[in-house]
Amino acid sequence: MSDQVIVEKLKEKFSSEVLNIVEFRGETTVTVKKEQIVDICTFMRDDFGYNLLCDLCGVDYLGKAPRFMVVYNLYNITTKQRIRIKAPVEEQDANIDTVSTVWGTANWHERECWDLLGIKFNNHPDLRRILMPADWEGHPLRKDYPLQGPDREPYKGRLS
């Protein structure tokens, strides 16, 4: 099944959820609303065989509304196809439902996303920091978090 067919079927099933479809360098990206993300991911896994969640990450588009985007890179081990799902998350009380019930691997990826970007995953079994120390303040991958860390001289770029 080609990406177009899959996207068409996804649009048919979740007509009010799909916001945008982009194709770039042969890769398809579907942006969907975050409310039904678990249903959409379950549908992608069960009906189209996207059984491997390769990667899950957050992106900070500081200054835009909604500010965050959660990105799911999916892979189908049988047909060797890839597709990307994205869901926007607003800045105020940033949260989205967990997909760790759909793919177990999402557990640590979501912990990392919470740790580095401060996006909460509702119903996550174990939402703790993973890379930063447990008592760390702030979320380092946010665009308004200084590269040198808090309370230090700002980075001036390479001097040579």
Partner: protein, 393 residues
Amino acid sequence: MAANTETMTINMGPQHPSTHGVLQLILELDGEIVVKATPHIGFLHRGIEKLSEHRTYHQTIPLTDRLDYLAPMSNNLGYVLAVEKLLGITDEIPERVQRIRVIMTELTRLKSHLVWLACHALDIGAMTVFLYCFRERECITDIYEKVSGARMTSNYFRVGGLADDLPDGLEGEIRTFAESIPAHVEEYEGLLTGNRIWQKRTIGVGEISAEAAIDIGITGPALRATGVDWDLRRDNPYSGYDDYEFEVPVRKGCDTFDRYRVRLDEMRQSALIIIQALDKLKPGPILADCPKVVLPPKKDVVNNIESLIHHFKIVTEGFKTEPGEIYQSVEAPKGELGFYLIADGSAYPFRMKIRPPSFVNLQGLPQMVEGKLLADVIAVIGTLDIVLGEIDR
């Protein structure tokens, strides 16, 4: 009289010779049985993803060396392929570049698997294998040094090509080395495969089914040992891998022993790929002809003003890319290594997310050790082949 038992919680790592770096495990034990294992990571976090947002695309290449520092060229390859895809110059890469990249990444796979076997066997108690493996690994670090000047952090690939051509005479050296690999693998097998202690410590240890492995995201040799026939080199070929004939070793045992056998078979296949690539290697340019984004050849930089200007611009301000996002992954020695890049049209990546295979594979550790013996934890950490540089980034 019924004995009163209670569980005991012990700490393993981050300073522990068998955790392969700074991995900390909190183990809850009932006698010698592991009831619960909780990995703690992040001790080696250097913020590579954050740093890359403040560097040009070329300046990030040396950072990728420091992800999986036992397989730097695989990381280099994943990253440069991702940037090339973002730029849309994937088809412009000269044939010689693709072949040398394949040779070097397959040598890297051997290098990584040799360290894995050495440490895995040492953890279980087979000291000799460690010395044998490091003897062969030394040859690969020598080759690394000759092509890139560094024995570990190579920084050899460039966007659109290579830092330099292979030095004279190295092709013969690589060929001799690759031809010697099957005999060496035979030697390791002679020490381990039929060894009763080795079998007792590995057969049936750390089992995980194919469904559970896919659910938790395990990729690479660990997944192929559960009977899933999937290898990115063959199934989503990159860098001209569709041009070589090789087998993808698959086993169905799901245990530490079969993961060991899959990796040994992979070493034999890597040697075959290297020999094929050397046979097909022809002289040619080592940089793509895209002057706006790819560094000009060194001899032009010193002889030609136009090339000097391009060189200067690419080195100082970097190159701009068209806005967009791509995901590119390669079959690294440990599994699927992916780079997800978002470009906003500037000379810096807007966001770079690395999908490190070790990070995801480590997530499977609790279900592989819970309910098993404490001594098996050591075997399972070894068989997962984790590198903390890549997990913590």
